[in-house]
């Protein structure tokens, strides 16, 4: 048996050596890259790349199999499968992340143009333009986007509070990993979390179009440039999404409560209608919404847009909240009502406080959904100072796309950060609803 093990290890070494040799041969015999039109091409690179991939994957899988034979012979093939799974997943991660990383590096690059000749220096990836040249690293694109935002002292104070609160949240989230654990830490973290929400909300509410202007050489105010308005667009989007989220919570909690806790005639029919209605996105009745808003003098107002969104938000949120209440025992309310609380009192003082996590989820879910909405915003909001971030970015892609690529990338990164942060902070809650049996897709 020991001799068998040795054979396995020996074959592992041979396989690894052969695979490495093959990869080396494929790489070293590759022809020099040539320019074809505007592109740098390595002739025949694809089959070399494929060959290398097969060699690496196959070699690793075989090695894992042999290692498995040597250690746990019955499960040897599992080792092979696991090894090739890792490689495959990393390849998928590479493909999924390539645009993200590329976007980040464009936003931190001095080159502001999508056109232009390929660089002659640097490694192969830089010379072929597959990645922007790291030598041009710079924050100039972000400055360009943020330069025309003139915050007042109050705003700076709020920004300071926000940043501090975020740091506290991060710190208190990381500390338990190093063994610090206490109830007080949890409380501090909760408090800091709400501070993040509160200061962000105040900041969004207090910043207005007046803070966005350029300054000419002789000190006069100029209208903001396309890039300079982007922070305003982000603020607008946050305002609209936040209000829609709050409205969704306000309007759906009582409905969800009635559906879950009360039995009355017509309950099933109404529930059916709610579930049915949420399958029709609001924007399908785009023309009618436009007509309605033009009659209500609500075109080009945030109010009109928020009202239009709220209609679509309610049904789904009520359904989710109903499901949540169904999973709670009614004994708490019964207790409260035996103690003399009214039904509304039981709802207000018992149900709402214990549903805070669920309400937060409804808010965030609506917030993220609204943030990415485009068609209604584009139809209802005409004035540039009211644009949302999606419309603002479209202004880049339809006008000076080729020349403002860097500024657009920086704007895209800035616009994505709030949602990215929210999504990863509440990842499990936000993705968990899409498990089996849920209604919405």
């Amino acid at each position: 048996m020991i001799a068998g093990k040795r054979v396995h290890y020996l074959s592992m070494a041979v396989v690894a050596l052969l695979a490495a040799l093959g990869v080396y041969l494929l790489a070293s015999t590759a022809p020099e890259p040539v320019m074809r039109g505007r592109m740098l091409v390595i002739p025949g690179a694809w089959w070399r790349f494929l060959g290398m991939f097969v060699l690496v994957t196959g070699g690793l899988a075989l090695c894992a199999y042999l290692y498995g034979l040597a250690t746990r012979p019955l499960r040897a093939w599992r080792y092979a499968v696991t090894a090739s799974t890792h490689i495959f997943i990393w390849l998928v991660i590479l493909a999924v992340f390539y645009p993200v990383v590329y976007l980040l590096s464009v936003s931190f690059n001095r080159n502001d143009t999508l056109a232009g000749a390929l660089p002659r220096e640097g490694n192969l990836l830089v010379r072929s333009g597959v990645f922007p040249n790291p030598a041009d690293l710079s924050v100039v694109q972000y400055l360009k986007v943020l330069r025309e935002t003139h915050l007042l002292p109050l705003h700076w104070l709020l920004v300071a509070v926000l940043v501090t609160a975020i740091l506290v949240v991060l710190g208190t989230a990381l500390l338990p990993r190093f063994g610090f654990r206490s109830a007080r830490l949890e409380r501090v973290r909760g408090l800091a979390g709400w501070t993040v929400f509160g200061s962000a909300a105040l900041l969004v509410l207090s910043v207005g179009p007046g803070q966005f202007y350029g300054v000419s050489a002789d000190g006069r105010r100029l209208p903001a440039s396309i890039g300079g308005m982007v922070p305003l667009y982000i603020r607008n989007t946050l305002l609209v999404s936040g209000t829609t989220g709050v409205l969704a919570v306000l309007l759906s909690t009582t409905a969800g409560y009635a559906f879950s806790r009360m039995r009355f005639q017509g309950r099933y029919t109404t529930l059916l209608t709610f579930v049915f209605v949420q399958m029709f996105p609001t924007f399908m009745a785009l023309v009618a919404i436009f007509y309605l808003m033009s009659r209500l003098d609500l075109l080009n107002t945030f109010t009109g847009l928020i009202l239009a969104y709220s209609g679509g938000a309610i049904a789904f949120s009520s359904w989710i909240f109903k499901g949540y209440l169904d999973s709670l025992t009614p004994s708490l309310e019964e207790q409260a009502m035996v103690d003399g609380a009214t039904r509304w009192g039981a709802f207000w003082r018992v149900i709402l406080p214990i549903s805070v996590p669920m309400l937060l989820f409804i808010f965030l879910n609506q917030f993220i959904g609204t943030y990415s909405e485009f068609i209604l915003a584009n139809t209802l909001l005409v004035g540039q100072e009211r644009w949302t971030v999606g419309i603002g970015l479209r202004n880049f892609t339809t006008n000076q796309f080729a020349t403002q690529w860097g500024a657009m990338a920086a704007s895209a990164v800035l616009g994505s950060v709030p949602i990215l942060a929210i999504f990863y902070s509440f990842q499990d809650a936000l993705t968990g609803q899409f498990t089996a049996g849920s209604v919405k897709g």
Partner: protein, 530 residues
Amino acid sequence: MKDHLPRSRTTAGGVFRSLGLIALALLLATAVGVAGYLLVRLLAPEAPAFVGIPIGTVALVLVLRYIARRFAWIMPWYYLLPAIVFLLTFTFFPVVLTIGLAFTDYAGVRNGELNVSSETPIVAIDGERLQIANPGTLDCRSLRDGCNGVRAVVYASGEVTLPAESLDGTTLVLGEEPPAGRTVVGVELDMPDLGFAATLRVVEQDGPVLTLERQPPFPPDLTSVGVVLDRQAIRRTIVAEEGDRLTLDAPLPEDVEAVSIARYNDFGFVGWRNFRRILASAPRALVPVFGWNISFAFLTVLLNLAAGVFIAVLLNNKALRFRNLYRTLLIIPWALPSVITIQVWKGFLNQNFGAINRVLALLDISPEPINWLLGDATAARAAVILVNLWLGLPFMMTATLGALSAIPDDVYEAARIDGASAWQAFWSVTGPLLRTALVPITLSSFAFNFNNFNVIFLLTDGGPPVPWGTATARGTDILISWAYNEAFRSQGGYAYGFGSAISLIIFVITLGVSLMNFRVTGALKEEARA
């Protein structure tokens, strides 16, 4: 199943009684709201239309309090009321309105507003008959049936000449009352000593007594004073039109001097005309757009599902190290706002400078740079589907992982005891269980992608133009983007009514898919018994 709580056992009211009471309350509130709006507008003519909403809300609260005292069983409906009101106003009503508008010729040039640029002078008046200076300015050709049945505004003269009795400082007393109901905005006083007339603003008016802004510098001629009146707008409807002669539905008042007329951009009911137009252009618009719409949604769902299930099955291997890290990393396209990432993809897919073509060139995969977005339709379609795969993969992966983790371990245990191999267990245990869980997700994903406006509009903008399409129905246009192009873009002529007709078709299709989803999931079976 009985109520959880003791108090709402008294649910005596039927559905119709409850809804009827609530409808009554809403109707009353609406009436109060409209009345309030009209009242506010009397006091402040500039007030926007939505001031009626808070007024109506207050009325609603009062009415509801009264009803709750009389009929206690209505309580559950009160909890539903905020949601129902919003659903009715901003979801249900727009749907009904869409149906209505689909049968009208509502459009940019027929938007129901007053057309200010159509104002043309009136040459002669004879009772309800008018002769206008320029029929071309009134421009009735863009309307459905000429100017017949179109609302119009006749502007009455701004000036009458009256004698004055006296002038004392800034107070001018006219010999006659100015026309009733009109406001005097100024007087034109002829000053013989000066040799020309001066116009003075009137700051206050009380019958024939006018207060001027200042004293006239020279004694004016009081026998004939030009009294400048505010412009008066008289609403009429044009009932017949013949060249430069118009007939109104009623004669104009005797005492005014009509000077000009402007028309409204009226729209009206046109029956099935929009649908006939859709059918008439079907070979070039409806059929190719619908075909691509279906295949786009189908291919997207198929690809996303295949890739998502594959990766999820790989990640579901509990022995796999870093599986949570992998899941967290792979979820990133979902965590970024799609409205931003899609537009960034537009840059990546740029023909000459985009990252994708550079990678393809470096690996020598495509001999020529592919013109993804502006070249031929096939490339643009492939681009849309691939970007949608990038966007949708995390969702399908997460959904499948959720479904997989819901399968209890003892099922596998039982399969193993029965002697099934791992492969057999996967095919005959995981497969069927996964399918049941994924069917509703697949269906709703299909419904979502069927109307995935964002990815089409922001990536390809519906383009490129194709020889078999029209200006509004191009290579990658789906039904909803076609409707948008017709309704909100110049190449579609802002044909809102036509766009609504297309929306109606989308409604019907979505309804079908949703019904199917209902049937498959049985989402509400449990509730029906409750």
